[in-house]
Amino acid sequence: MNHSIQSAGMARRNFLRLGAFVAATAMLPAKLLAAMVRPADAFTATGLDSTFAQIGGIPELHDGIIFSTPDIAENGAVVPVKVEIDGNKLPKVDKIYVMVEKNPNPLSAMFNVPAGTKPYVETRVKVAQTCNLYAVVDVDGKLYMAAKETKVTLGGCGG
């Protein structure tokens, strides 16, 4: 039973690899569009405060943002993060940002959420050292956030 679960995962991965190739060639216009809306100054900002300043100010904490990151990173180079939105508390979200406080450039990712799209993103970020990670959302120019600490450790010595 477990074997078949594994096999299904493998098959899907191969399928997606094939898909990625097709997508890459078809996405040029989207890439150009992304460059236009990409806030370069926010991505190159150093320090959390100046990154916040670049996107429009310090966000307020909001419990409508469900932000999942590992408590301890298995590999600091690829840390899975997930941002979900409780639609009852935040019915509309325009943008989602992911930030890593102590990275040289804290802003790791920005997602535009077109109207009518369910706001849900999963991605991988680098985390250089133990610090807070932030999920920030933009709702009509107003900023909200959720924070969670992810620890980066040398490992070993367990149990």
């Binding site: 594994q6 899907r12 991965r13 590999n75 620890k151 040398l154 010595c157």
Partner: protein
Amino acid sequence: MERREFNKMLALGLAAGLSLPTLTRGARAANFDYDVPRFGNVHLMHMTDAHAQLQPIFYREPQVNIGVHGARNRAPHLIGQALLDAYGLSAGTRESHAFTYLDFIESSQRFGKVGGFAHLSTLVKRVKANRPGAVLLDGGDLWQGSATSLWTNGQDMVDASKLLGIDVMTGHWEFTLGADRVQEIIENDLDGHIDFIAHNVKDFDFGDPVFASHTVKEINGVPVAIIGQAFPYTPIANPSYFTDGWTFGIQERELQLKIDEVRAAGAQVVVLLSHNGADTDIKLASRITGLDAIMGGHTHDAIPKAMEVKNPAGMTLVTNAGSNGKFLGVLDFDVRNGKIKDWSYKLLPVFADLLPADPDMSALIEKIRAPYQSRLSEVLATTDDLLYRRGNFNGSFDQLICDALIDELGADVSLSPGFRWGTSLLPGDEITMEDLMSQVAITYPSVTLSEMKGDFLKVILEDVADNLFNPDPYYQQGGDMVRVGGLDYAISPLAGAGQRISDMALSGKAIDPSRTYKVAGWASMQPAEGEPIWDVVARWLRDQGTIRAVPLKEPVIKGLSGNKGVA
């Protein structure tokens, strides 16, 4: 009945002229009562962290087990007399010997060895005899920790656990046999016998489950869901190349969804079989709803009674059942009309001399050991001192390993992992190859010699200290502090991350942050080339011949007055 039979045997023994020491030991049998009357209608037996100890052993409970912040002065961070006081136990009793380090040498001589699968098997059969439908759960760390488990690639423990009648298990050190071997065992050996469950192990790319998340057992008509929680930090605490492509973690939200799902499907009792460690279990129990019990392991804490932990919707019991086959937990629920009316929990110590060996299990163990007998029984040295490992800081067996590393590799400093498994030896005992393997039997045993700056040595100590003393148990890994050879230091467990370690010195001289030191170690997180640790320590022990007193490199502990986790 059984006691009467025992007395009869005793009388027969008298007639047959048994030696006096055997008699005195037998006479103490009445001091511990294994008659656990049936309670309720849902019966769960729980063992955990056996670490492949098929034979009876000595295992000294910690003399230092510090709890910080929310965990201060509560179970499991109570040692010695503080633990006895908290649970109303008396010094000098079998319970005191089982649960504490007090008078360890004398008590071990009086009460004999503990654990051993043949003796544990007898206890399981006794508990089962008046509990129809009882299910035996194992919390993991079952297939690793001995010479024979390493040399048979876990097969000895798989065979023994099937004969013991384990029904459900989860894992941690199991994974250090490698993902392929684990899957092979599950498919070839466990199928139809033991459910291997872990809701929190997923494929890294897509989040597909690697194992069954849970199993449902109908116990006397009551559907009982058991959800598996493997050690959340396996690829961090152990080399990640063993579980390439798998991701772990506590996965609190996913667990809540799973509990809601099995409840909706009709489960009347929901239990988490956990390898989180006690403090993480306690925190999890306070945040998750709908769990009736967390039966946990990993931190090797033998908690005499179940803890009742409140959460937003009710209460969850938390139990932790020690290690090394030394204990069997028995949790009974009285379920009527789909609701739990009452419960009862006992943690039974396994005293080998009170529980006759089960003949079938004895035969299997003998068969397992036969091909290795001469290697196992090689005497490397004898010890005049007590040898043990468990405790937050250096134990005497680890000190030998650290000292051997310095001598054999020509190092200034040596580091050895803060494992919590590893059995104990009494003064006067021989140290056999088997005893040594019970401290070092891992699948990544290479020794290493590295050049390291003084400031990086501090980084390592700080990193491990935070894994032990972080205020939030979700950020701890459940090992003890890294063991050190050559090095003196002080530690402030209550200080913040990166601020706990001070006064590092080598032979009275302060460690220079910018100087390079030669540091020996083993159990590297990255693939490493080097002699296996057992060859290095065995050679050193043979040279020593006799181990006299073992002076411990214990740190100076600062800022912990009134803490009942340290004597």
